[in-house]
């Protein structure tokens, strides 16, 4: 995996851990049920964000905003308003 992709993935995983603490494994279980492994988040952003919406409902904007903020800081890139777009741009190396 290229360094930026690896850092982006680590940033997302670390943010999830910071928010969900020891319940993070529960999130990964439900993510896997939608066919997304914890290491496939960058490749399947739509499914990843859909899982966030399905589980957290009205709390999902907080999760999305926190991830966007953390990975933009981590990679020194401009934040985007939408998490799917943010992840896609990281994937393409647009940032």
């Amino acid at each position: 995996m290229e360094p930026d992709r690896a850092r982006a993935l680590e940033g997302i995983q670390r943010t999830l851990k910071g928010l969900l603490f020891t319940e993070t494994e529960v999130f990964y279980f439900h993510l896997q049920n939608l066919g997304v492994g914890r290491d496939e988040i960058l490749d399947k952003p739509e499914q990843f964000v859909r899982t966030i919406h399905d589980i957290f409902g009205k709390g999902s904007p907080l999760v999305e905003k926190t991830i966007i903020s953390e990975i933009s800081k981590e990679l020194s890139v401009d934040p985007k308003s939408d998490l799917v777009e943010m992840i896609k741009s990281l994937r393409k190396g647009e940032t």
Binding site: G18, L19, L20, F21, T22, E23, T24, E25, V26, F27, F29, H30, D54, I55, F56, G57, K58, G59, L62, V63
Partner: protein, 311 residues
């Protein structure tokens, strides 16, 4: 007793404090397929991450280590064992008691020597009848016969394959140590929380409500959640959970939402400081999580609020 907002709302710590009162035994790591290394306490598996975070807070300390065999290439602990023929390297082996006919030196599983006609042994190679053990034939013990090449041997080749598909021999495996923990006295600081939950349980029980304190409930993910209180009435089955103070409340409520999703059918009654009710109301689905303000320091008052919903 401390007031609720002075307590840390971690029901697992309350559970550990309650456990420490009963047992001083060390907490050993165990390997679970699908979950990795966990620490089992009274039937509850706590993840290594959770246990590690308690160690960092000096609530637990390492009192030794238990090593687990691991793949030398990727450190995976998920290993499977294959027994192979030392000659043809194939795996079609049969395990059996081995018998040898000394005169013709034929050896094979004892079943091959059993005669169909009578109770005597007959050598399948030279057809001689074998009567005297130690003179005509011997039974050296358990061994293996390769169904493919016919070789009989005592020790098969042992090959190990990890979940990543890497193959190793037995003596090439790594050993990955995991700490064995003892509970430090500092954990008793969390006994207050267990006592608070117990006081609420007693108040609910006095009203005839079936309630379990520090209940273990397995979620859809397979994770066992330690719930402060579970309540069952004819009307509903609910979990009673708490965010006792404002610190980190956003993350805490996300954890409660995730737990609630994992628990499926249970309705959660989530007690939070009164100052947080309106703020958190915008984040939760009221059909799944009902937010209630903590009614002061009185456990009886909490019980009354629970009864209003479930009674």
């Amino acid at each position: 007793m401390k007031s609720p907002e002075q307590m840390r709302d971690d029901s697992t710590l309350a559970f550990l404090a309650s456990h420490a009162k009963k047992s001083k035994e060390p907490i050993n790591p165990v390997f679970r397929h699908g979950a990795g290394v966990v620490y089992e306490i009274e039937g509850v598996d706590l993840s290594f991450e959770r246990i590690k975070s308690y160690e960092q807070e000096k609530l637990l300390s390492a009192a030794g280590a238990k090593p687990f065999p691991a793949c030398p290439k990727c450190s995976s602990l998920l290993l499977s064992v294959q027994l192979n023929c030392p000659d043809c390297k194939r795996q079609s082996l049969a395990r059996s008691e081995i018998m040898i006919h000394y005169e013709c030196e034929y050896s094979g599983p004892v079943e091959e020597f059993v005669s169909q006609k009578d109770a005597e042994y007959v050598c399948p190679k030279c057809s001689k009848t074998l009567k005297r053990v130690g003179i005509e034939y011997g039974k050296p013990g358990i061994g293996f016969k390769c169904r493919d090449c016919g070789r009989v041997f005592q020790y098969p080749l042992v090959n190990i394959t990890c979940s990543g598909g890497h193959q190793s021999k037995l003596d090439e495996l790594d050993l990955k140590p995991f700490p064995v923990y003892k509970v430090n006295d500092e954990i008793q600081g969390f006994a207050d929380l267990a006592d608070y939950f117990l006081a609420i349980q007693k108040a609910l029980a006095r009203s005839g409500i079936e309630v379990e304190v520090l209940a273990r409930v397995r979620g859809q993910s397979g994770v066992v959640h330690i719930i402060p209180l579970t309540v069952r009435t004819g009307k509903m089955q609910a979990v009673v959970d708490f965010i006792l103070n404002e610190a980190g409340s956003d993350a805490k409520v996300l954890q409660k939402i995730l737990r609630s999703a994992d628990l499926g059918q249970h309705v959660a009654l989530l007690f939070v400081p009164a100052s947080l009710v309106s703020q958190l109301a915008g984040m939760v689905n009221p059909e799944k999580i009902r937010l209630l303000a903590i009614p002061g320091n009185d456990p009886d008052a909490v019980a009354r609020e629970v009864i209003k919903v479930v009674g």
